[in-house]
Amino acid sequence: MMTPLVEATGLSRDFALGARGLFGRSRHVLRAVDRVDLAILPGETVGLVGESGSGKSTLGRLLIRLVEPTAGRIRFGAEDITRLGGRALAETRRAMQIVFQDPYGALDPRMPVEQIVMEPLRIHGARADAAARRAVAEMLDLVGLPPRAARRFPHEFSGGQRQRIGIARALILRPQFVVADEPVSALDVSVQAQIINLLTDLQRELGLTYLFIAHDLAVVRHIASRVAVMYLGKIVELAEKSALYAEPLHPYTQALIAAVPVRHPSARAAGRVRRAELSGDVPSALAIPSGCRFHPRCPHAMALCREREPAPREVRPGHVVSCHLVNPA
């Protein structure tokens, strides 16, 4: 068994909302991530899918300590980084980076690209000298931007090129682990494939490990080796991608796949029938349903599902699902 590069055990994060009551206790607590176990192996890409409010972005940020956990543990390599602070945390963070969804909001509009890409080096103590400029130039080349891009400003670039700048900034510290949070969702369709191809090339060249967060199941199917499905703060299914897409076991995973638009108009009627079973909206994370949190929307819910929360079970090697309907093979 390979040692995971990143491992979460019982990881949770609560957010306190709204007005605080007496003694500073918040009246509403939103549990965005709820006792998640996840191990990511070196060199692999784990796809993390789920709808808005599922907690997938919070989980990604927890793993790299951009968000503090409420409970649980995070290991990075051999080290427990859950309580790391100060210099030790800063050192570990070099190895863990994030690429954001919005290439417009993530770049400082007043900084030329060279400074934007160099910033992480400077934060980690490097001087803006010739060596740093050389590192930036190498990085720009690696992400497919021309050398003259260094002197330009973000507004002079298209969305796809801005995402290349964001990737260059994330990679300049040569991290081992990269959280890519919806990196192509804000891009035009004709540019998405370029960025996906770039991410796979960089992974091969630099030996990167990815957590690839997305709501587009087809994109995840292309780029991931394993896929985790999140619903209201919990991972409800995790499997090799070939197993997950060919034989999804959790009714929520089945519904997500069925909801993807058909690829040809001739499949329209069949698509409608397939997805007719799922109704309703994702419930609020402030009022998580009892038992299995998916049961109010689940077409197969039984009495047990309302009462008891299903525990994750490995029903086949590497295929873990939390559902009372699924018995181990």
């Binding site: 709808e51 808005s52 298209s158 969305g159 796809g160 090129q161 035009d188 369709v189 004709s190 540019v191 998405q192 494939a193 370029q194 996906i196 191809n197 796979t200 709501h215 587009d216 199941l217 087809a218 994109v219 199917r221 292309h222 991608k241 070939s242 897409y245 519904a255 997500l256 796949i257 069925a258 909801a259 993807v260 638009p261 058909v262 690829r263 040809h264 108009p265 001739s266 499949a267 329209r268 698509g271 409608r272 997805r275 799922l278 109704s279 909206d281 994702v282």
Partner: protein, 323 residues
């Protein structure tokens, strides 16, 4: 006579650096009950085309430089704002991508729908209330009578989009334009809203224009398709023609570059379209797609390619169609 006939439409915007054309020489028509899908990326002109039809562009800076928009035989481009307001609602209605910004946060959803009804017809308070509850039920809002007193922020994104649909349908429009109606929604909710749009089309017999960047939404909804790129229609066809025999290199590349759920699992590269979308201020001469097209020859940049028929109801703007 078609329900909607758009001919030679060119819409421009005045900017600090001169006038730019957002939509150029666009022609299409739409029959009652038909679903027209318009697919394109940013800057393709798909939304500006819809807003021109709706008369919702502020003029200036927008200007209809050429062409006509005829709805049920009536020319719309020369109507006053006041006359246009009478067309919007019972004639043409529109829903937008972001339902939160289209709803007024300080009024209940019931008030907003009743207001729409009473702006166009004389309806008493009781009749207006009953009609509104019926509309909310029709668009799939559970416990509709109780939800009448809810404010927009109390609804989920999917429910807000259903309320927008109820407002759009309040005056039984003959044409509904849906501009990226599901882009802000989750995939399971997207499917529900698309199914609802088609059900409502069947029930009300209205025509529908679905504007999207998502080729999957086209596959789910459209009878006929316009593909737009950099302000121009590059291909138009019945929906099966777009998916079975895409003619324009851009349409073909767009279909190929989106990964599919049912494609064989293969490692390696997705077929990508190189380059970036052209800046509307510096569009390339000749065919707008030529700088990114793998079939381009020097002649492509010499002149705009004419729309050439390739099959029944199927045409593409490309001089390399046989290549």
């Amino acid at each position: 006579m078609s329900l909607l006939e758009v001919a030679g439409l060119t819409t421009t915007f005045a900017t600090e650096r001169g006038e730019i054309a957002a939509v150029e020489e666009v022609n299409f028509s739409l029959e009652a009950g038909e679903v027209l899908g318009v697919v394109g990326e940013s800057g393709s002109g798909k939304s500006v085309t819809a807003l021109t039809v709706m008369g919702l562009l502020p003029r200036p800076p927008a200007r209809i430089a050429a062409g006509s928009v005829r709805f049920a035989g009536q020319e719309l481009t020369s109507l006053s704002d006041r006359e246009m307001r009478r067309i919007r609602g019972p004639g043409i209605a529109m829903v937008f991508q972001e339902p939160m910004t289209s709803l007024n946060p300080v009024f209940t959803i019931g008030e907003q729908i009743i207001e729409t009804i009473r702006a166009h017809e004389r309806a008493g308070a009781a009749a207006g209330f009953a009609r509104t509850v019926e509309l909310l039920e029709k668009v799939g809002i559970p416990s509709a009578a109780e939800r009448m007193s809810a404010y927009p922020h109390q609804l989920s994104g999917g429910q807000r989009q259903r309320v927008m649909l109820a407002i759009a349908l309040a005056c039984r429009p003959r044409l509904l334009i849906a501009d990226e109606p599901t882009t802000a929604l989750d995939v399971t909710i997207q499917a529900q809203i698309l199914d609802l749009l088609l059900d409502l089309r069947d029930e009300f017999g209205m025509a529908l224009i679905v504007i999207t960047h998502n080729i999957g939404v086209i596959a789910e909804t459209a009878d006929r398709v316009l593909v737009m790129y950099a302000g121009r229609i590059v291909e138009e066809a019945p929906v099966a023609g777009i998916f079975d025999r895409p003619a324009h290199p851009y349409t073909r590349a767009l279909l190929a570059s989106a990964p599919a759920l049912d494609a064989p699992l293969a490692a390696g590269h997705l077929p990508a379209i190189p380059g970036t979308l052209p800046d509307p201020r510096h569009r390339p001469p000749g065919c707008r797609f030529a700088p990114r097209c793998e079939l381009a020859i020097p002649a492509c940049s010499a002149a705009l390619p004419p729309l050439t028929a390739v099959g029944p109801g199927h045409a593409a703007s490309c001089i390399r169609l046989g290549a």
